[in-house]
Symmetry: C2
Subunit: 367 residues, 2 copies
Amino acid sequence: MNYLDQIASPTLLIDEKITRANLKKMADKAQKLGKKLVPHWKTSQSRTVGNWAKDYGIREVTASSISLAEYLCGQGWDSIHIAFPFNIREIPRLNRLAANQTISVQVVNAATAKALAEGLREEVSFFVELDAGYGRTGIQASDEAELEEILTQAGRSQHLKFKGFYIHPGHTYYGKNTSKIHEESQEALALRKAKYLDRYPNLVTRLGDTPGCAVMEDFGAVDELGPGNFVFFDLMQVHLGSCKREDIAVCLAVPVVDIRKDRKEILIHGGGVHLAKDVLMQPDGTKNFGEVVLVTEKGWSIPSHYSFVKSISQEHGIIQASEELLNSVKVGDLLGILPVHSCMTADAMGSYLSLNGQEIDHAEGLR
Amino acid sequence: MNYLDQIASPTLLIDEKITRANLKKMADKAQKLGKKLVPHWKTSQSRTVGNWAKDYGIREVTASSISLAEYLCGQGWDSIHIAFPFNIREIPRLNRLAANQTISVQVVNAATAKALAEGLREEVSFFVELDAGYGRTGIQASDEAELEEILTQAGRSQHLKFKGFYIHPGHTYYGKNTSKIHEESQEALALRKAKYLDRYPNLVTRLGDTPGCAVMEDFGAVDELGPGNFVFFDLMQVHLGSCKREDIAVCLAVPVVDIRKDRKEILIHGGGVHLAKDVLMQPDGTKNFGEVVLVTEKGWSIPSHYSFVKSISQEHGIIQASEELLNSVKVGDLLGILPVHSCMTADAMGSYLSLNGQEIDHAEGLR
């Protein structure tokens, strides 16, 4: 009996070998460049995958929420960073967490620094997030007054320690000018570091996004790299040139429930609640919610003929199938779907099945 | 202390009064028209909300997956229907479930009927799903041979009972010609019923979609109505004309983490893992991932000024805020977001908070 016999319902497969290769490659690159790698753990959200990462010298991780940081607490991490503009309603939870785990948070305004300074009962350090220029989060480079006010507020507390500057250049996901974006981000971090290093001799700078960290070879004076998605990769990253399809480490196994040869369609049990609804637009204007691979006893293989999920509902998806696929599949078979956005698929599924039939943990929708 | 004081992190609020009003209105309509209402429970996925429904004479529900049917088993439902083209890899689970609960499934091809006939050890009835004409699921009206083969296969088993015909006219979600679509669906069901009633004197027909069931007043000879989303409604349904904003029964409470007056933006803790990523395109081409309401001690109120979530990432969203909202909100406040697609938001969140501070259950991401 192999792992495939265990699968009756949509199941997220994880290939440990590919995952470890992705971790090792990024760790080797960081080491070669003399940078500390602090991966963003929002992708796998897994303690087990965390243990794999430790084999490559990774000692710190980043969480996307306090819930995930709580889930990763007690797993031997030197430090966990919560890379989200801190939500001050969570200060009581932060105090409980920081009593047991070295923690840093992210601050983007003085109101948050003030509330933390007043409410913290345990030591917590913080990064100031700088706006990478695409206007999602972070303080703007021009807003010197806000930055000074954050540091002033923090200075009032013995518990709140300034750790450094953080930039997430997420606009590399738009697929243009990755190197120019990284240069600008590196420069913004270098300028801030130069200005504040005298006052804060231990401050560090951290920069992270998978497209940039995967393709760039020069990160200038930045101290730490914080990519996340590279652990699993996905079709979006293939599309951006960060990886090959063969580097994608997770795959949704889905049962075939109907076949319509006349329309070249295969109906699968696997929809929005499993894959999430991230989509790639294809050159011909059709939508791609995931690509079909063939599941095997050893994992999955990428077929030479192209089939993709062209639409999804809550529980099921419709595959636009190649002739080869149509002619080889029957009701009750399993197919594999490479996800467009692996972080969201893993979050939707809430657990993994390894290729030797073991369940691999995920924080499982903790909010 | 009111329920708002409990909220530190994104929390899905449920207004029991609105939910009950939605249930009552649809139940009254069905009763008036002499139809049996069998709501699709994929929206709330809640046992508690199920108990509310029973107060309005609702005795049967539909599940979107066998996991949800398992979750609802033992809650006193006369029957649970799994409205999904049956996945034959789940036959062992179906046998275990059917030992404890009256169950029906949905069949769209003879291969599935054959596998069920061979594998069932407990009585299970089935609907044949007819393609409503938009090509998602179901057998085509012209495919008489497949239908006959399904009935032949089923006839070989003492456990598998033909219950009737089911249509989900989901193309009413495209917002055009709801009444024409319903007429066609009603006619397709009536034709089939007329043809097979002699052979299967107890067969019933069921038709269900929220836009249709909300706005139509005539369902012809159809026996049963199966809408789902109406329990909560959402912005998509407002957009389709099925309800008013005031009828939406759930709202995501989100903490404010940053405010950018220069850009009229408010950054909230609440993103794709909370709201899901369903989106409405607005007339000016901008995207709407949810609309802002003001949370109050009694629930929420719809402001006269319009603010909406214009973009979302995994954990956070950016609100395009009205002047009034910008001037009245501060970091750490809570706002409410009416969801675009309440089924997906509820599925992403996995539980609710009532307005008197009680946690309300949800099947919670069971797959």
